[in-house]
């Protein structure tokens, strides 16, 4: 029964700063706003689509998707109401599209609307999205928590340049979700109450909800697992033994959901040496002195014990992997070769390639020594990985200097900073990345020759490794033309293998899940890596133990 279970307490140590996901793009904002705003369809933990505001998922079969793949038609459920009591209509959907696609609005989800020619309201409950070109994956706009429907009446004056001035709207959007905001304190606390207009009269079970921000992952986990002050803590990525210690209290547990997040090492195929003039470092002007040698890259990968890394760093919320694209099933390559560490093999490989061990235990060839700088962002697990990997590499005769960079600098794209991911002024670097929705194609499209970051594109390219293989580019074009899902998966697997197994330009380490802690007294939690973790918060209940 609605409101019968009292208060729901959620802690998110990274606090949400706004309730409008179109303006932020950060996961923390998505999660918070998903309590209030809903898309047409969501993704399940298994990566499948389920209707939310839509009556059903449009497919070729039910005629929702046009034969030529150039349009998709969504039908809204009947009788939907905004939390202020007004009906939800197709105009709201059209408006939501308009809102994000406004060139001056700075909408962070713009990519989801790529290729859309127009969005039109067919009738009060039907919306048709027209694409400029045939779209093999039409489930992009309005699918997932990052593409919710906002109320036209509320946001009408917030288009384009006006978007940031609408503080009240951004902080307290009128939605269709199970809760509505009662108080929003940015980067601090959000309080909600059950939405009286929610479509299922029995839900949500909780009368109020709070999302508290602040602290760190350990503190958040502690407040759920040890003190029991909170019911749910988001993103409690901690070392496995700490988690195990906390779980011993018996108040709750940590569970993980697997999406597409892979922790990997990128190899720099260009020379980052500071002896080159600024503007030529880490660009195609100077190939890397030794990492261009495939044998060296392969040896780097072979020396790593992914199993051990998982055990130390992630426990149950990680799996060793050799893949760049770990999911969906059809796209993931069955490649398992890298899972066993092979130090001797790596040594042999290097010997064979002519890299002989020099005086100081470092291999060299033609005066080039295997000495590298290994950088990553500041993060306890990553620093442990660095130390371990450094040791393994030193065993095969490669010397590594470690470097860490503050995350906001590392992942920032400030062209003035030498320490960004894109500039890659190091020989190898480690981070994790994923893709959204069920379609890895754009994710694979990052690795074409023209996307290598360089001064020419203000270092904004996405091809971090500066990988360049015309065969890859060609195969990618083919993928764009392919419609058949099975065929697409095959090509995807091939592309994936070209990046990893064949070239070792990317050395995948671990397929990471997102870990969250929840109290044993919380029922209905279905942690989800493909959508907002709170996607089914309407179904959560208090269970008696």
């Amino acid at each position: 029964e609605r409101g019968s279970d009292g208060a729901l307490n959620i802690i998110m140590w990274q606090a949400p700063s706004t309730m409008n996901p179109y303006l932020s793009g950060g996961t923390k904002e998505l999660i918070a706003s998903s309590m209030v705003l809903e898309p047409l369809a969501s993704m399940t933990p298994e990566g499948e689509h389920v209707p939310r505001l839509a009556a059903e998922i449009p497919t070729l079969e039910n005629g929702g998707i046009a034969e030529d793949l150039k349009s998709v038609t969504w039908k809204l459920q009947e009788g939907l109401k905004w939390s202020d009591g007004t009906p939800v209509t197709s105009a709201d959907v059209v408006f939501s599209g308009q809102y994000c696609m406004d060139p001056q609005g700075g909408c962070s989800q713009l990519a989801k609307f790529e290729g859309i020619e127009s969005i039109e309201a067919v009738d009060d409950l039907t919306v048709k999205i027209n694409f400029t070109e045939p779209m093999p994956d039409p489930y992009s706009a309005f699918v997932g928590a990052n593409g919710p429907i906002i109320q036209k009446a509320q946001f009408e004056n917030c288009l384009g340049a006006n978007a940031p001035t609408c503080t009240d709207q951004n902080f307290n959007p009128i939605g269709t979700g199970p809760f509505r905001v009662t108080q929003f304190l940015t980067n601090d606390v959000i309080t909600f109450e059950a939405n009286p207009e929610y479509r299922d009269p029995a839900k949500p079970a909780f009368a109020t909800a709070t999302i508290k921000g602040g602290g760190d992952a350990a503190a958040a986990a502690r407040s759920v697992l040890e003190t029991g002050e909170y019911d749910y803590a988001w993103n409690t990525q901690l070392s496995p033994d700490v988690i195990a210690g906390m779980e011993q209290m018996g108040r709750g547990k940590v569970s993980a959901a697997f999406g597409s997040l892979v922790e990997r090492i990128h190899v720099n195929l260009t020379d980052p040496s500071s002896s080159h003039p600024e503007g030529e470092r880490s660009t195609n002007a100077h190939p890397h002195p030794f990492l261009t040698d495939p044998a060296v890259r392969k040896a780097l990968s072979m020396a790593i014990d992914r199993q051990l890394l998982t055990e130390i760093g992630y426990g149950a919320s990680g799996k060793p992997t050799c893949n760049y694209v770990p999911a969906p099933e059809a796209w993931a390559s069955p490649n398992q070769e890298c899972l066993t560490q092979d130090i001797e093999g790596a040594k042999a490989l290097l010997d064979e390639a002519g890299w002989t061990v020099g005086g100081s235990g470092v291999r060299e060839k033609d005066g080039v020594q295997l000495k590298m700088v290994f950088q990553t962002s500041v993060n306890a697990v990553r620093q442990d990985f660095q130390a371990l990997i450094k040791q393994w590499w030193s065993e095969i005769g490669i010397e590594t200097e470690l470097k860490t960079v503050d995350a906001s600098v590392f992942f920032g794209t400030d062209p003035g900073s030498p320490d960004t991911l894109q500039k890659f002024y190091a020989d190898v670097q480690m981070y994790a990345d994923n893709f959204e929705g069920g379609n890895p194609a754009p994710y694979l499209a990052k690795w074409t020759c023209d996307k290598a970051p360089s001064p020419a594109n203000q270092w904004q390219g996405e091809n971090i490794s500066r990988y360049c293989d015309p065969a890859y580019d060609a195969l990618l074009v083919e993928l764009g033309k392919t419609v058949d899902p099975a065929e697409r998966g095959k090509i995807g697997q091939k592309l994936n293998e070209m990046l990893t197994k064949e070239s070792n330009a990317i050395i995948p380490l671990i397929y990471r899940g997102t870990a969250s802690a929840h109290s044993n007294s919380l029922g209905g939690v279905q942690i989800n890596a493909w959508d907002s973790e709170l996607w089914n918060v309407a179904d959560w209940t208090r269970v008696q133990q």
């Binding site: 700490v242 130390i312 660095q386 860490t404 503050d406």
Partner: protein
């Protein structure tokens, strides 16, 4: 009459006078042996040292501090395990013969890490503190002493106090990390960068306090007297002003060491410090906080060393201050 003759004459007279006055009293007089006593035979520093030695707390602290320094400097030659060597099978092991203080989550030997970490922490703490204190005293004294410089220097202090630390540090690192590591090598370059970053951002409090004291001191008559004998400004500051504002400087110095050690670890959480596998006490402490319950010794050990160092420095500072203050010395 030559000087020696004159002196001799004077002494003779004193003895005569003394005998004339009261018999046998001279023996208990202050050890006036004017013929042999010279003003410089005993230097000020030896005096201070002698006094310092009588300060029990300071002596104990000094011994402990020297031991700590020996531990971190000489220790690694005796206990030769590489502090960055990962022995994954031995991870999380407790106290044992192979690892007297246990190992960390990657099986790195804690004893070796404490020794290596201490080197860095003590070096950073001392150097950064010295930089901060010298800078602070210099600016404080100059602005308190020279009326004309007061306003600009104090406005500059305010500016520094107001500057947000983090962006400043980030900027410093971006600008200077590479040039420094190129000219001094990566470890030394980072060291220079860190100590100057900490030093350059923590001198303000000392400066303000010293300035305040100097303002009061300037009105004392002996400063006027020193002025009247033509004491130039620099000498005035070094000989008359500084010794008289020593005690707040000492306090700032002790507090400064603690802050520098902790700040160094804070810097490494930001990726601004030493390479990540390079242990320092502050970082060892920080890394172990999450595992405090499972492995308490990992927090206690570095915490103990930090506190011990700070306490030692504090007591040494106290002892020095007392030893340098002739008024307290007698007590």
């Amino acid at each position: 009459m030559t000087d020696t003759e004159r002196q001799h004459h004077l002494d003779l007279r004193e003895t005569v006078d003394a005998t004339a006055a009261a018999a046998g009293a001279t023996a208990a007089l202050p050890p006036d042996n004017p013929l042999h006593a010279g003003g410089e035979t005993r230097s000020q520093w030896r005096d201070v040292w002698r006094q310092f030695r009588s300060h029990k707390g300071a002596m104990v602290a000094l011994v402990l501090f020297v031991l700590t320094i020996l531990f971190v400097l000489v220790g690694p030659y005796i206990w030769t395990i590489d502090p960055t060597y990962v022995d994954i099978r031995a991870r999380n092991s407790g106290f044992s013969a192979a690892h007297p203080l246990g190992t960390d989550q990657l099986g790195r030997d804690m004893l070796a890490r404490l020794m290596a970490g201490g080197r860095v922490s003590i070096a950073v703490g001392l150097t950064a503190m010295i930089i901060a204190i010298s800078l602070g005293s210099l600016i404080g004294v100059t602005s308190g002493y020279f009326r004309r410089l007061d306003a600009p220097l104090m406005r500059m202090t305010e500016l520094f106090l107001a500057l947000p630390l983090l962006p400043l540090l980030l900027l410093m690192v971006t600008l200077f990390r590479e040039p420094l590591s190129q000219s001094f090598g990566p470890a030394m370059g980072t060291f220079i960068l860190i100590v100057s970053a900490i030093g350059a951002t923590s001198w303000m409090q000392a400066a303000r306090i010293v300035r305040g004291d100097v303002l009061g001191l300037k009105e004392r008559e002996f400063i006027l007297a020193a002025k009247s004998i033509g004491t130039p400004a620099h000498r005035m500051i070094l000989r008359h002003v500084l010794p008289n504002v020593l005690s707040p400087i000492m306090v700032a110095a002790t507090l400064g060491i603690a802050t520098a050690i902790i700040t160094e670890s804070a810097l490494s959480f930001l990726g601004l410090g030493f390479p990540p596998d390079f242990p320092t006490w502050g970082r060892l402490l920080y890394d172990a906080v999450d595992q405090m319950i499972q492995y308490p010794s990992r927090v206690i050990l570095p915490g103990l060393f930090i506190s011990l160092t700070v306490l030692c420095v504090n007591y040494i500072g106290d002892g020095l201050r007392d030893a340098m203050d002739p008024r307290i010395r007698g007590r």
